[in-house]
Symmetry: C2
Subunit: 123 residues, 2 copies
Amino acid sequence: MTDPLTTALAYHEAWTGHDFDRAMTHIADDVVCDAPAGRIEGAEAFRAFMGPFSRILVSSTLLAAFGDERTALLMYDTDTVPVRNAPASEFLTVRDGLITHLRIIFDRTPFDAARLAAQGIPT
Amino acid sequence: MTDPLTTALAYHEAWTGHDFDRAMTHIADDVVCDAPAGRIEGAEAFRAFMGPFSRILVSSTLLAAFGDERTALLMYDTDTVPVRNAPASEFLTVRDGLITHLRIIFDRTPFDAARLAAQGIPT
């Protein structure tokens, strides 16, 4: 059995490498994800939330990664198509080699601004 | 010399306990803080940024805390006067027992919405 940090990094490497199908192999069917906009429950809902972010990712840099026997905590920076320098942090709980819970923190403000700008709405 | 995680937790305990003067004893004079709105340089500018947040804090819960010989990584949830459930993550670099760099991630969106609501502006 791989330890939680190894699982978290394998998931991270897959989605930041634009291989979201491979990323999902590390996600439990009953995953719960607490994200800025609210709670997401189940693997399909999680894929619908995180998959599109994977596709707008241009590059990423892992800033810090720690783990213990049950969890892992990552911080990374990303450049995305709409927003450059969009850092995020994830606290992942792993059970039997699968990620069962994620708490993801990032700042929605620049993404909201980019979406409004794309619609021609000044912010 | 205390290790970086101990320093980070002492800082965290002080500011979440509303003792920002004590919190500042763990901050280097030439601290650099990368926050959602941009870079903050120097202890006085950092106090001006983080002190007001300490004052609107109602309660906080440490979710995860890790460290190595040079850094610490924390994730915590907060309830604040304008926003409930405002989690944040901090990646801290510690040198000679003082915090020299912080990268803080949180979602500005609910704080922006609360400020506009307080001004009577619908969001």
